[in-house]
């Protein structure tokens, strides 16, 4: 394989142009998925028996079946019914981008719900009891005690899931959304220079993942001041051990 810098550069420029599409898919589906996951976790943890069974079934189905078949089910499957085509959801389900976002969000919600449940289970009962004893309301208790501890505990697993989601956005190219992988595939079939295009595209994904990992590590650092060494009181303003809610 000869080393063609000009080709690598032009490939890089073409693929970077598709990065906003990948990031758009990623940001929309992860945040929508997080909202859904919050609801599912609530059903699973403090809903009645009926809601809990629903949450369990949801998690089982969306974690147990492949994302691609879920995406095709939504994109090709739902459009088959006239009732769907005449409903107010049709503008969303007709568009490949929003279909991909819906499929990615539904899938990640199943995984995120399990991560959130794990985080909640890690909150020590005595901390909740102490908060109650101090007279905190349910909302205050959640905001000041439960959420900070649960988020801190769930972050490592959450960042793994988020990285997996960056990779999962590649499947959107199979429902004709031209993000980085789809663009790379088109370049490969035009130029037949598989290895070069693969390496440039992979480099772009690694860069995105690297930035996300750093951001997650920063969040973890911010959320665990109690694990850090205490700064010298003489040199700092003395805001020690404060938990940022």
């Amino acid at each position: 394989m000869d080393f063609d810098v000009a080709f690598l550069l032009s490939t890089f420029v073409k693929l970077v142009a598709a990065v906003p599409m990948t990031l758009g898919l990623f940001a929309a589906s992860v945040s929508l998925g997080a909202l859904l996951a919050l609801g599912i976790t609530y059903c699973r943890v403090s809903g009645g028996p009926l809601l809990s069974v629903f949450a369990r079934a949801y998690i089982f189905v969306f974690r147990g079946s492949p994302l691609l078949i879920q995406m095709f089910l939504i994109y090709y499957g739902l459009g088959q019914f006239p009732a769907v085509r005449h409903s107010l959801f049709w503008p969303v389900l007709r568009d490949p981008f929003s279909c991909a976002v819906v499929a990615l969000a539904l899938c990640t919600a199943g995984y995120q719900a399990e991560i959130m449940r794990g985080g909640l289970q890690a909150v020590p009962a005595r901390e909740i009891e102490a908060g109650r004893a101090a007279g905190m309301s349910r909302l205050l208790l959640f905001r000041r005690i439960i959420a900070p501890i649960a988020i801190r505990q769930a972050l490592p697993a959450y960042s793994t899931e988020v990285i997996l989601m960056v990779k999962s956005t590649a499947l959107a190219s199979l429902v004709t959304v031209w993000e980085v992988t789809g663009t790379a595939q088109r370049l490969i079939s035009q130029t037949y220079r598989t290895m070069e295009v693969f390496l440039v595209a992979t480099l772009i994904y690694l860069l995105i993942n690297f930035i996300i990992v750093r951001l997650m590590a920063l969040a973890e650092y911010r959320l665990s001041p109690h694990l850090r060494e205490r700064p010298d009181p003489a040199s700092s303003g003395g805001r020690q051990g404060e938990i940022h809610g």
Binding site: F60, V61, G64, S65, P66, L67, L68, I69, Q70, F72, L73, Y76, G77, L78, G79, Q80, F81, I163, K167, S168, T169, A170, L171, S173, L174, T181, A184, Q185, I188, S189, Y192, T194, M195, F198, A201, T202, Y205, L206, N209
Partner: protein, 240 residues
């Protein structure tokens, strides 16, 4: 024709084709697990080695194949492999395009990815082997190869079973992407059945349900195997 006829085993039913496709999905996943075991063992050895370039190569491998989207890896192997096969054909005076067989391409591509994950599993399992046992083996004069065969491999295989279960589940889902090469596994077959009958919803629901059957069954099998292995740990001599 009612939907039950479409997925049934009658004259126009797709039932038997879908069951065959399920077998194909299992076959390509099993093949990729074997390919990945070879890559994983090599990469784990490289990552544990004392040589800095070997460690660097191992790290580069796991970073690339865990960080790149699975679909991209499949394109790399399928298109890149076909180009290589065509070049060999040209060298043998065959003019024209030769494709890499899609089963082979799928098994290698999913195997490359699974190899990166398996390398981490084996590396973790290696650390779980008690240091004292390796020292003891060295003390009674076992050579590197004998130590590897008698002390390391049996324990690493046992410790890596839970991790391998996760890798299997990942590969099972990655195998759906092999459908882009045209291999008639479960995803591709559901797609064809959906397209030719225009019953997209039905066949993707059925395909998804069959995948659920596969993941649930393999989960059962792996937890059974883990229980069996745990039993042998409790009874083994010299551990605690």
């Amino acid at each position: 024709m009612s939907w039950i006829d479409l997925i049934g085993f009658g004259e126009h039913g797709r039932g038997s084709i879908l069951l065959w496709a399920m077998g194909m999905t299992l076959a390509v996943t099993a093949a990729s697990l074997c390919v990945g075991a070879v890559f994983g063992a090599i990469i784990a050895t490289a990552k544990l080695s004392a040589s800095r370039p070997a460690r660097w190569l191992g790290d580069a491998y796991t970073t690339v194949f865990r960080g790149a989207p699975e679909l991209l890896v499949i394109y790399l192997v399928y298109f890149g492999g076909s180009q290589a096969v065509t070049a060999v054909g040209k060298w043998l005076n065959y003019e024209g395009f030769l494709g890499l067989p899609s089963f082979l391409a799928g098994a290698i591509a999913v195997g490359l990815i699974s190899g990166a994950y398996q390398a981490e599993v084996y590396r973790g399992a290696y650390y779980a082997v008690a240091r004292g046992e390796i020292d003891a083996a060295r003390a009674i004069g076992m050579g590197t190869l004998l130590r590897f065969r008698r002390i390391l491999v049996p324990q690493i295989l046992r410790f890596s079973l839970p991790g391998l279960g996760n890798v299997w589940q990942l590969s099972l889902k990655d195998s759906t992407l092999v459908s882009v090469t045209g291999l008639a596994e479960l995803m591709r077959t559901s797609q064809i059945a959906a397209g030719s009958t225009k019953q997209y919803f039905l066949f993707f629901i059925v395909g998804g349900a069959l995948y659920l059957v596969l993941t649930t069954l393999s989960d059962r099998i792996f937890s059974f195997a883990e229980r069996r292995v745990a039993r042998s740990f409790r009874h083994s001599l010299g551990r605690r």
